[in-house]
Subunit: 409 residues, 2 copies
Amino acid sequence: MAAKKISSFHPPQRVLMGPGPSNINPRVLAAMSLPVIGYMDPAFVDMMAELKTLLRYAFQTDNQLTYPISGPGSVGMESCFVNMVAPGDKVVVCRNGVFGGRMIENVERCKGTPIIVEGTWGEPVDPNAVEDALKKNPDARIVAFVHAETSTGCVSDAKTLAEVAHKHDCLTIVDAVTSLAGCPLKVKEWDLDAVYSASQKCLSCTPGLSPVTYSDRVIDYVTGRKDKVQSWFMDLNLILNYWGHTVRTYHHTAPINGLFALHEALLLLKEEGIENTWARHQRHYQALKAGFEAMGLKFLVKEEKDRLPQISTIMVPEGIDEAEVRSKLLSEFNVEIGAGLGPLAGKVWRFGLMGYTANSANVMLCLSALGSILSKMGYPVKVGEAEAAAHQSYANQHTSMAQKARSRS
Amino acid sequence: MAAKKISSFHPPQRVLMGPGPSNINPRVLAAMSLPVIGYMDPAFVDMMAELKTLLRYAFQTDNQLTYPISGPGSVGMESCFVNMVAPGDKVVVCRNGVFGGRMIENVERCKGTPIIVEGTWGEPVDPNAVEDALKKNPDARIVAFVHAETSTGCVSDAKTLAEVAHKHDCLTIVDAVTSLAGCPLKVKEWDLDAVYSASQKCLSCTPGLSPVTYSDRVIDYVTGRKDKVQSWFMDLNLILNYWGHTVRTYHHTAPINGLFALHEALLLLKEEGIENTWARHQRHYQALKAGFEAMGLKFLVKEEKDRLPQISTIMVPEGIDEAEVRSKLLSEFNVEIGAGLGPLAGKVWRFGLMGYTANSANVMLCLSALGSILSKMGYPVKVGEAEAAAHQSYANQHTSMAQKARSRS
Ligand SMILES: Cc1ncc(COP(=O)(O)O)c(C=O)c1O
Ligand SMILES: Cc1ncc(COP(=O)(O)O)c(C=O)c1O
């Protein structure tokens, strides 16, 4: 067989309504394709300073050490663990989805001892269970949890969990990969210690960057460690020389174009205003939810208050081939949604409305595409009903906003 | 002080003649800014297959496991070490520059024992010294060396070093960050085991990706390891499920836009033909060298055969403020060159002609800018002499190529 001739790649145009990456604003794409400059260029160094300022705004913190790690969210996660967990350390890890499980893996590979607080997939982490674990393990040093579990669509109460941890003299490691910019995350007000995120979710930037922020407590601990951090690349003591101080020394080559893009994505967030961005995610989630409910579809996460607006996990109705639905959404409508992970594989779909993707056109496209596919597969849904419900939701929200505005003035 | 208002970043337009990143071909920049798609999208999966094929061509190998790691060259390096070095393993590491030193750090952090073969900065690694080390340490498992030392501009004889290693039953870890696509690197013919590179040097792609290739010997070793690789992110056993097999499962989110760019950069290499790319680097290096010599400047690497065409390390003439020269090149001519690293800091400049940057316009710009700056600083150079020498070099090369072509026909 002759080898296929390879030519330039032309990606199809997709609406990305899965668990990330989300669609990227053209302004961000344009920034990414600006000519590269050196990572020690004075112009680049100025941009790094702005990036840190913008990231502090996104995280709602004034932590000095707030910067983007040159790697995907998983590297952000591993960076927190390798720097903060020394061999033998006890770490309370809360698992109510896939990513809590990944945290456990990280603790083990750092030769720490994970104290696992098992939760139910689709329910928030239980602060009482964490308190119990800490009482039983007074020598635990760290509490680690996922703020927004992308695998279930459930949010946990990061503020309360951090309070419990600090009461027991523990530092916190918080996964904010999916929460950052999608729902309230207040690093300073909630007093979180090490928080990592990723670029491709509600920031709608190119995948491959992991914004992180560390409290001074974390820096004190890491700079005071006697043993060497097991990863050279992730060792904060070395990275501080590039991102932390004013005199910069070479550590590794920064992903320059990706950072151009992140700068622009964060600027868009700043321009919209983070509260407005949170509210936008809520608004479109409400409309999408109205549509799902009109179709008789059920959420995995039962309590409204526990649901993430940026990712809705929907139970696959009985008798429906879930993979076929996803594949038709993609091939017939160019809409990508997510499958279930781990024990939820085959049982749920995940619909993301993250960042730039969160708009009414996408809500409508998704509901009408899904309705059309499901009805052809024999699922009892009247085409048009879901869209009508979504429109009604937008209208109701509009009215209630107007009423609120009136009552304020 | 009021915070400065942040607006969109507009990078200056630079000619990148340092040790990388190099300038990026507009075709590659355009590819990078194409709309993002999902990392499990069938279209993306097809592109991944092409990427692997193109990377095999660049590495001159048919290794099955050849793929781009989602991180800079340093992550490529660390990935090789964490997967291949278990606690207690003896690893012969050759150090004749900065990056050999980084390899030693990696061995130590994997709790291996480095057997250091110290070399002279600016000279190639001595195969006899490696052989001696292996004779003294018959239980060594790995030999690690840098093919192209970016900190000195020196190339080592990878083929012979690999022969010595294999004679003593050792696997090889080879740093090809700067060599890939800039000078001959023949992974299959030279029988190299684990080879990592980076995207931002002679491939002239965006920084932040690390192409790697592993022989079956490496895969057998890693899949057969009883203990767990200390890094979750870099564990080849997990990554194989995404890049290695036909059924893909989620591991981490791939840097999609960066991979679009890498695909295009590798396609450009394929279109030019790798031998032609190597020859292009040689041709422009010869001209640049002629210009340097006309100015009376000296190379750190004495022997012509040991010099890397893609990076020339030049001794700073006595009495010249090296930092001022670099800063003027940047501010007056938009030309970035590199400073010396480690013990060479303040003593040398590094002039890169990597990938897309390697063309005659840049050679001429660099020589004329440098001549102008040096002469104003009182260094005895006649403006125009270096350029004339470079032109003469191009002309001579042209004649000798024509002669060769005639004698072949
Ligand atoms: C909650 C959470 N944590 C961590 C990650 C890992 O991020 P990445 O895929 O960028 O490595 C993800 C990615 O989906 C996530 O949703
Ligand atoms: C020989 C060599 N090895 C490793 C690296 C590290 O690559 P990166 O800076 O992309 O992490 C470099 C970068 O300059 C290099 O020149």
